[in-house]
Symmetry: C2
Subunit: 453 residues, 2 copies
């Protein structure tokens, strides 16, 4: 049994839905289909999820949003018309949406969550209707009926453990299960969504619960690339990578697959196959627990900008018990998360995502560190990019660091900081944002271009 998940761009038009149908029907093991809400039909288009959020907010303000309702229902209606589906499914979607919009508004976050989730929910009904229209046995299954229970934090639901046993019972279901992604229900029966792009998470939970042999994630690229195509043209595709490698790459900007979504698959050791709806013949990329290393120590290079660093020095800091812990406490008091803490003897540097900070927060933190910890110097630097060089095989490969830092040096990139823990699945370089692309290209050249020639 395979769980197959389709992203929004794979479900944006009737023509796309037909591709989805052909893919599912071509393999009888593809028994559970998880769907996103209809995505963009072209670059300037708006995703249905974003329309729904706007609609919910307008309802909260004014109690109506007729234009938006029309646009949203129109998106489903266009698809249905293109596919020659009877209008009753659109009537159902229309009344469902109006019913939700008239619902309980006391907690705006939960209200918005319920409206947002309808994008996936109604799309699952539409997809099931189309599959049946084409003669397949297909059933929409509600997460509530299936027992997908989650915690109560809107926009950040966490699956509850009993869900897996509940979902296992779906194996008894005849035909193809069409299951909406992105949300579950809390103990009170309210809709709660996962974090953004959370349909990947639903697919992974379902694969775990159903004890599927494979979780196929269909999107709009042929594979995960070893480096961003926006930096290096025509980069090498990755055939196979481990959960950890995927996680390290997605941390620094690889957004093909939601990182939280790896957990349920990882726990059950279910391989995740990333494939292209528009080119299903392409091999795609497989994410697995362990892989053979065939092609050099590095599997991918990711980079992300928008970091800042807080440099703190204090003579003999190293002797002070609790210094680091107290610095982290000051950050935590402001709700800040940090990324890394490279250190010298009497200095530490804390790397954070700078979108968490504004000038007031920066000043408050610098002041507290100076005064409460009696630091000699506190300096905040902005616009740092982190570059991750990722590969499990680096662990046993003497000289990867040398190759990487030599490549950067020859490209005249100044390394602001380096961080490499004893796991050695990745190596992190901090550089100035202005040198980010230069650095990534130099590393790609070193670890991939040479191999390919």
């Amino acid at each position: 049994m395979k769980v197959v998940k389709f992203g929004g761009s794979s479900l944006a038009t009737g023509a796309q839905l037909e591709k989805v149908f052909q893919i599912v029907i071509s393999d009888p093991e593809r028994r559970a289909v998880v769907v996103s809400a209809p995505g963009k039909r072209h670059a300037q288009d708006t995703k249905v999820t974003d329309l729904l959020i706007d609609c919910a907010k307008q309802y909260l303000l004014s109690g109506e949003a007729p234009e938006l309702v029309k646009t949203i229902v129109g998106r489903y209606a266009d698809i249905a018309a293109e596919l020659g589906l009877p209008e009753d499914v659109i009537d159902l979607i229309h009344s469902d949406l109006l019913h939700l919009l008239e619902g309980e508004k006391q907690d705006p976050d939960r209200y918005i969550d319920a409206i947002k989730a309808s994008g996936e929910d109604n799309n699952a009904k539409l997809v099931a209707a189309y599959f049946r229209h084409r003669g397949a046995e297909a059933h929409y299954v509600s997460p509530k009926d299936a027992g997908l229970f989650v915690t109560s934090e809107p926009g950040n639901a966490q699956v509850l453990p009993e869900s897996y046993d509940n979902l296992f019972r779906l194996r008894q279901q005849e035909g193809i299960i069409v299951f909406p992604g992105f949300f579950g229900f809390n103990q009170e029966g309210e809709v709660i969504t996962f974090s953004r792009s959370g349909s990947d998470i639903t697919g992974s939970i379902l694969a775990n619960g159903l004890k599927a042999e494979l979780y196929e994630n269909f999107t709009d690229v042929d594979a995960v690339y070893s480096v961003s195509p926006s930096i290096v043209s025509d980069p090498k595709e990755i055939r196979e990578l481990t959960y950890r490698e995927m996680r390290e790459l997605s941390y620094a900007g690889f957004s093909v697959f939601h990182d939280e979504a790896l957990i349920p698959a990882f726990r059950a050791r279910i391989p995740v196959q990333i494939k292209n709806t528009n080119n299903p013949a392409a091999e795609g990329t497989r994410v697995v627990a362990e892989r053979d290393n065939t092609n050099g120590p590095v599997v991918g290079i990711a980079s992300d900008s928008g970091f800042c660093s807080i440099y703190i020095s204090k003579y003999l800091m190293n002797r002070e018990i609790g210094f680091g812990r107290r610095v982290l406490q000051i950050l935590e008091d402001d709700g800040l998360t940090y990324e890394h803490i490279p250190s010298g003897i009497d200095d530490i540097t804390i790397i954070l995502r700078q979108d968490q900070m504004d000038e007031a927060i920066e000043q408050r933190i610098a002041k507290r560190i100076k005064e409460e910890l009696d630091a000699d110097e506190v300096t905040i630097e902005h616009n740092i990019a982190l570059i991750m060089v990722v590969g499990e095989a680096m662990r046993h490969n003497v000289g990867t660091t040398a190759r990487a830092s030599k490549a950067l040096s020859e490209a005249h990139v100044n390394i602001e900081m380096i961080n490499q823990g004893s796991s050695e699945v990745s190596m992190m370089f901090g550089v100035k944002e202005a040198q980010e692309k230069q650095a990534v290209r130099a590393l790609y050249q070193e670890f991939f271009a040479k191999v390919l020639v």
Copy 2:
């Protein structure tokens, strides 16, 4: 005005004391002399400070230690006899020691501190007597009379700020001041010692208080070497280095100068000159606030063994606010200090000195991290060496990392971890202890041997 400090080996015999006298007298600016207790006369000898500690402990147990008292007083008597000094100074030392040994024993730590400190105190009296015997005007000055006040923690005294103004008044003193190192007095008038080898600290405090132009620290090596002579034979001498470079090197095993001793000199920007009592014509090494960079980016390479690492991984650790802080809290609860925290995305490695840990502590900590923080994996590894590559000029030098890691790779050294903060005064490599010497030699070869040829 210069403050001159002599270490124990420079004061172990009459012949050594004569060298000290000649050095002091040769420069009329050498107005304040800080002395250690007599040190080792040869490799198998015992330092007077160690004899005094044994003596104090035996007194605490049995109320007497006649053999040790005889040995200790004998050490001073031998020096006095060699120099032809009258016996009255030895009688004074003998009665002072007996008086201290019969003193208040309620707080054993303070009792031991008082006995320990007598090594320096009595040696200052002896040195002053010898200088006078040779016709110089020289006066023993007690830290109590001079107002060198410190905090009350035995064996870890911290100077109190008012001491500096008190000491400034010593500028009025005629002739040469002979001042015992290693201790001060707390507000209650009790002797409290600095940490071990604390005479360096006294010299630095005195230099600061007296507003000296230079603090000369005489020891038994010609200079600070760029790498340990026990690893590389005949290493390059360092002519000049900054306080920060000195601090980073001394952290990882360069023990020429006590690292706490740099602070008072550093605060007053007084240069520290390290020279050899046995070869005063040698240029020595100067420690300054800023220096010109003339000779490559690296000034020295230090290494130290005896570290262990705690590797902790947890999927999506990176998203958890407070994870790092809670790990550090667990260590702090056991009184442990850590050195560095290199990290991956969902893992951190904590480097600690392993002499703080035993099996029980390790198990307790690993258990708490696993249970309280729900970590996926906690692994403790032993016998790690840290190698520090130090140099202020690394900051502006693209490619130092590449050179260092390439040198290690060519020497087949596997880099277990790297840590380089944005200060870039140093770069840290963690390697297995078995590869420590190999690694240091390879780095020395890269950064020094090539320059020298």
